[in-house]
């Protein structure tokens, strides 16, 4: 299932969801997490998902990653593409060092040792954790763990990246820097990105398109293109305006649910 090419693959890949429904549990306890979600993500597109807490964003990413099966509907991905998912929790391997964690996908792709070393060092520099390479997850702060998880997901070198609140535990500055890094990698590798965030400005800063999900059942209720030219700045007025618009829509949606 994994390719053994040593250079980052530059193939782009689309993602398509057709009427995807996901029900957790049965009978009276059933929770309808997704209700007929259809979505086409173009190759190389950066899509941000926003929505209230518990509306089904993580569920959606899990389905696309193939870690869960939809109750009905279909998800199409190019043959052989295994999307990389950065989970909402860091999900680091506690038995391994920071280095070791980031190295796992490289080992699985059978990269030679020297190249692995180099890639790991580079990725840790990207997330500003070079000096923590030998520490274990339990010795890191929350934000550091999240960055290790980011590095590990980036090490996958997959054309489709699914990210679940990847910068939620980071301070504004570190986040800004990682926005730039992510944008750079996205451009370089022509990645297709599905990005979940609660920070609407972050969505506006990064996305080609922002999609708003309703809560229980999760449905797409709004979708808008962000046509601000890149490079963008998170505190620019255009971004603020788009964020304000999405926030209003979100507010009315959450309000409708009586939260």
């Amino acid at each position: 299932m994994t390719s053994t090419t040593t250079t980052p693959r530059s193939a782009t890949a689309p993602v398509a969801l057709h009427g995807v429904t996901k029900v957790y549990g049965r009978g009276a306890n059933a929770v309808l997490a997704q209700d007929g979600v259809s979505l086409d993500v173009a190759p190389g597109e950066f899509v941000c998902l926003v929505g209230a807490s518990g509306c089904g964003k993580s569920t959606l990413l899990n389905l696309v990653a193939g870690l869960d099966r939809p109750s009905s509907g279909r998800i199409d991905l190019p043959e052989g593409v295994n999307p990389g998912l950065m989970f909402q929790e860091p999900a680091l391997f506690p038995w391994s060092t920071v280095e070791g964690n980031v190295e796992v996908p490289l080992k699985l792709r059978k990269l030679p040792r020297a190249e692995r070393r180099e890639r790991v060092a580079e990725l840790l520099r990207t997330v500003h954790l070079a000096e923590f390479a030998r520490k274990r997850p339990h010795e890191l702060s929350g934000g550091m763990r999240q960055r290790v998880a980011l590095a590990r997901t980036l090490a996958l070198d997959t054309p489709v990246l699914l990210m679940d609140e990847p910068f939620g535990a980071l301070d504004a500055m570190t986040r800004d820097i990682l926005h730039d890094e992510l944008e750079r990698i996205w451009t370089e590798r022509k990645l297709t990105v599905l990005f979940v965030t609660h920070n609407v400005r972050e969505a506006a800063r990064l996305a080609d398109r922002i999609i708003l999900l309703s809560s229980r059942p999760g449905r797409i209720i709004y979708s808008t293109r962000v046509d601000v030219p890149r490079p963008r700045r998170i505190d620019s007025p255009e971004i603020a305006a788009i964020a304000a618009d999405v926030t209003d829509r979100l507010r009315s949606e959450v309000g409708r649910h009586g939260q």
Partner: protein, 294 residues
């Protein structure tokens, strides 16, 4: 919205099962009760059929004489006799009662010992390694002490059973307590749980899966110790499985020996299914029965 789908592949069941056929085999969406029972049963029956076939085939090759290797037919005939004899049921009653009582005592002692040793540093330093050491002591070594302390009584048997099973249970508890996630301990302490309350609200439930696993091992130790210990006090009015097993062997009653072995295996299966049910219930509650991971 972009809708240009290049060469796409459906994430269909077919593909997933191509990837991990074995790992997620048997995971149907809406399996009926009957189908589930069947799915749990046929592999057992297949295994049984395979065993008997190999056995019978070996007998037919004439590899060993019949008195050395009893043919399945003879064993099952004897098993049928045995099942309809009072010997089995009386033996089961005696042995079952002893096993239950002995295991219950071992459980209480093992739990208490395990919890104490796991959390009190001094006790751990003093007794920690001793527990494994005691576990390795064969039952027969305890016989003289058992007789000395309790004479030829049922208590002597219990003594041997408890010494066999309690260390194993205690080790399960210690392992469980050792691996309680520190975050949960901290959370518990912060919520105001100290000492006994910390045990009650955090350590015990967190260690429960490991404790159940330890109980399973403890049961095996208890049962084996009991099989040996039942020879310690053969109360003639009260036949027991352990005594029958040994006598079958002493009289070279191969078919009867195997019949008793089958009974022991069946009992083991029943007990394991109880533990298995407990374990499954815990795993479901904890959400460790994850279908995608499973």
């Amino acid at each position: 919205m972009a809708s240009d789908t290049l060469t796409t592949a459906q994430r269909s069941d077919a593909e997933i099962s191509g990837l991990d056929a074995l790992e997620i085999a048997g995971r149907e969406k809406e399996t009926s009760r009957a189908a589930r029972v069947w799915a749990a049963t046929w592999p057992k029956l297949a295994a049984l059929a395979l065993t008997i076939t190999v056995w019978q085939a070996t007998v037919w090759t004439g590899w060993k004489e019949q008195w050395a290797l009893a043919p399945p037919g003879q064993v099952f005939a004897d098993l049928a006799d045995y099942v309809f004899s009072a010997a089995l049921w009386d033996g089961l009653a005696t042995t079952g009662r002893r096993a239950a009582l002995g295991f219950a005592a071992a459980l209480v002692i093992g739990l208490a010992l395990g919890l104490a040793v796991a959390r009190v540093k001094v006790l751990r330093a003093a007794l920690g390694s001793m527990i494994t050491a005691l576990q390795t002591m064969p039952s027969i070594a305890w016989f003289p002490l058992a007789i000395l302390l309790f004479g030829l009584t049922e208590q002597a048997i219990f003594f041997v059973v408890v010494l066999g099973a309690a260390p194993s249970i205690a080790n399960g508890v210690i392992y469980g307590v050792d691996y309680v996630p520190p975050l949960l301990l901290r959370a518990g302490r912060n919520l105001g749980a100290r000492r006994l309350n910390l045990y009650r609200y955090v350590i015990a439930p967190a260690a429960l899966p490991a404790i159940v696993a330890g109980l399973k091992q403890g049961w095996a130790f208890a049962w084996r110790s009991l099989m040996a210990g039942e020879l310690l006090v053969v109360i003639a009015t009260r036949t027991s499985i352990g005594a029958q097993l040994t006598y079958a062997r002493e009289l070279n009653e191969a078919p009867r020996l195997m019949a008793i072995m089958i009974v022991i295996l069946v009992l083991g299966l029943v007990v394991d299914s109880l533990f298995g049910a407990a374990d499954k219930a815990i795993r479901r509650r904890w959400g460790v029965l994850d279908p995608a991971g499973q």
